[in-house]
């Protein structure tokens, strides 16, 4: 099995390398941004070849598509893996269509079964899992990032190849502006305790309550999709669920979140789920270990008081 991995960040590459291990890939090549060249990190990943692309984020969608089609033609992989992020889902679907190939997004597991590649992914908003067999190779798969790590091998750096950005981009679609969002704190995927906020918060200022709780517990802050995408109160990368991060902390405290299936799919692997929601019929109560059916504006200050008084800390 020959695998080509596309990634924008080291964490993504590490995780996808682990997936390649799981399915027994014999030969693995990768395409990553040039910024990842300082090969220290890449040397122990057992990669045969690494292609470095300059200006990864600046290249137009059409330009990137063309580069990947050319590279797939050259490398001839059976499987192309990328992280389940918006740019990669779009890119993979386009390249796959161009090559009359299958593409599956948000895959949570893959295995060979009866000589066929079998993939699992969320279905019907995440309340169900579908199992699919791939009928043609190469297949383009975006993988849901959950924090897998590859085995470390002897340092034997990949052969490095630099790809340059297309010199002239004569595509009709022009990217006229880009605004970068500040990265807020550590990666949620690694968090031990997560305090998560939803539309139960009436005003942006009120999030201070959750921030105070998070600080007290050394927890990371996350949110439901509307708080990031609709209201813009939280960075986009902090939203958990079907279209956001999939996390597996020891403790997930959901405050003012209704618990729709698209949200819960991202937090199901949490060890303990605590729900603070004053609507006793909210679905989150059915998927919680501890339900607090109270007004968050009364409960969270009380919780902070108790934690302070007892000097309770996270372990």
């Amino acid at each position: 099995m020959h695998v080509l991995i596309l990634a924008r960040e080291l964490d993504e590459l590490l995780e996808l390398r682990a997936v390649a291990d799981q399915i027994g890939a014999l030969e693995v090549e990768t395409l990553v941004p040039k910024a990842m060249t300082n090969g220290e990190d890449l040397a122990s990943l057992g990669l045969r070849r690494a292609y470095f692309l300059e200006g990864f984020d600046d290249i137009s969608p059409d330009g990137l598509k063309k580069i990947v089609i050319d590279l797939v033609g050259k490398v001839e992989p059976s499987l192309v893996l990328g992280p389940s992020k918006k740019v990669f889902r779009e890119l993979f679907a386009r390249v796959a269509h161009n090559l009359a190939s299958p593409c599956l997004t948000d895959c949570t597991s893959l295995e060979f079964s009866g000589g066929r590649l079998v993939v699992e992914r969320p279905f019907l908003g995440g309340g169900y899992v579908e199992r699919l067999a791939v009928k043609k190779l190469p297949a383009f798969l975006t993988i849901q990032m959950t924090g897998r790590r590859p085995k470390i091998r002897e340092r034997n750096g990949p052969e490095k190849v630099e790809l340059s950005k297309p010199s002239s981009e004569d595509f009709s679609l022009r990217r006229v502006s880009v605004e970068r969002v500040e990265r807020g704190g550590a990666d949620l995927a690694k968090a031990r305790i997560v305090v998560s906020v939803g539309r139960g918060f009436k005003r942006r200022e009120d999030l201070k309550l959750a921030e105070e709780l998070a600080q007290l517990l050394g927890a990371d802050l996350a949110c439901s999709r509307p708080l990031a995408s609709d209201l813009g109160w939280m960075p986009e990368e902090k939203h958990v669920g079907l279209s956001g991060k999939w996390i597996s902390p020891q403790l997930y405290i959901a405050i003012g979140i209704s618990g729709q299936v698209q949200h819960m799919v991202g937090v199901r692997n949490s060890r303990i789920i605590v729900a603070v929601n004053n609507d006793t019929s909210a679905p989150i109560h059915r998927e919680a270990d501890y339900s607090v059916p109270l007004d968050l504006y009364q409960f969270i200050p009380a919780l902070i008081t108790v934690l302070r008084e007892k000097g309770v800390r996270a372990t």
């Binding site: 593409c103 599956l104 169900y128 022009r174 006229v176 502006s177 990265r183 995408s229 060890r271 934690l307």
Partner: protein, 260 residues
């Protein structure tokens, strides 16, 4: 005046969907059909464009067992015409087949300036229709769009990615996939629902699209679907805020995630 093609998919209403306790498979046959959430958003965006620029909104759909009543909903919201393909062969359609059928249907209906669909369908959530149509029709595509502005001969779209916001410009045509935040779908008034009953819904036979066998052959096969079950303890804490806080802290100390 712009011609807008909007692609919609008939999906089961997830909120009322049940599963068979013995097989854990969803009971699709008992589900209420509806239009996908993100499709409705794409559709609302199209109607708003029509309201300020004029033009025409055409609804396109394909699948197995397409229910005209569901498509009527789109017409009631303000679409002008609807074309659909309903064929048993599409029961096992994957993104490849769906894009091949819908791109051919769009071509048959005529030229469009803006082609819109949801960022992902409510059931499969593949995120692939827009990008695949882009290849099939050779039209540029921007996914996850949260804003669309038209000016003479120019379309400007904005999208939010995980770590950045991007704005693109292009002439028409353009394919855009709608993020849920692009617009809030309106509820059609009774008057609009009545008016919609006279609007044309045209069924196109799959054979009329002249698709080669290879374009109708799925590249993935669904083996099974089962409900995801989680076992949680569902302990409800009772009492006032302080009492509940104390109980919770005590439990979490016992669980080993907190220490006193």
């Amino acid at each position: 005046m712009p011609v807008l093609h909007v692609f919609v998919k008939q999906v089961p209403d997830i909120s009322t969907l049940e599963y068979d306790p013995s097989t854990l498979a969803p009971r699709f046959e008992k589900a209420t059909p509806r239009l996908g959430e993100a499709d409705l958003v794409a559709f609302e965006a199209a109607i708003r464009i029509k309201e300020s620029w004029g033009g025409e909104v055409v609804v396109l759909s394909a699948g197995d067992g397409v229910n005209e009543l569901v498509l009527r909903e789109a017409l009631a919201m303000g679409a002008d015409r609807c074309f659909y393909v309903s064929d048993q062969r599409l029961a096992g359609a994957d993104s490849w087949v769906t894009a091949n059928v819908l791109s051919r249907l769009s071509r048959k209906v005529g030229k469009a300036d803006l082609l819109l669909c949801g960022e992902a369908s409510t059931d499969s959530g593949n995120h692939q229709l827009g990008p695949r149509l882009s290849e099939a029709l050779n039209i540029p595509c921007v996914t996850h769009v949260v804003g669309i502005e038209l000016s003479e001969g120019l379309v400007r779209v904005r999208r939010i990615l995980e770590d950045r916001t991007e704005t693109f410009e292009t002439g028409s045509p353009l394919i855009a996939t709608a993020s849920l935040e692009l617009a809030s779908p309106r509820l059609p008034s009774l008057l609009m629902i009545k008016a919609a009953s006279k609007k044309p819904i045209i069924k196109v036979n799959l054979a009329e699209l002249g698709l080669d066998e290879g374009l109708l052959e799925p590249l993935v096969e669904r083996l099974s679907v089962r409900v995801f079950k989680t076992a949680r303890r569902n302990i409800v804490l009772e009492g006032g805020p302080l009492e509940c806080a104390e109980k919770l802290v005590e439990s979490l100390v016992k669980e080993g995630v907190f220490k006193a």
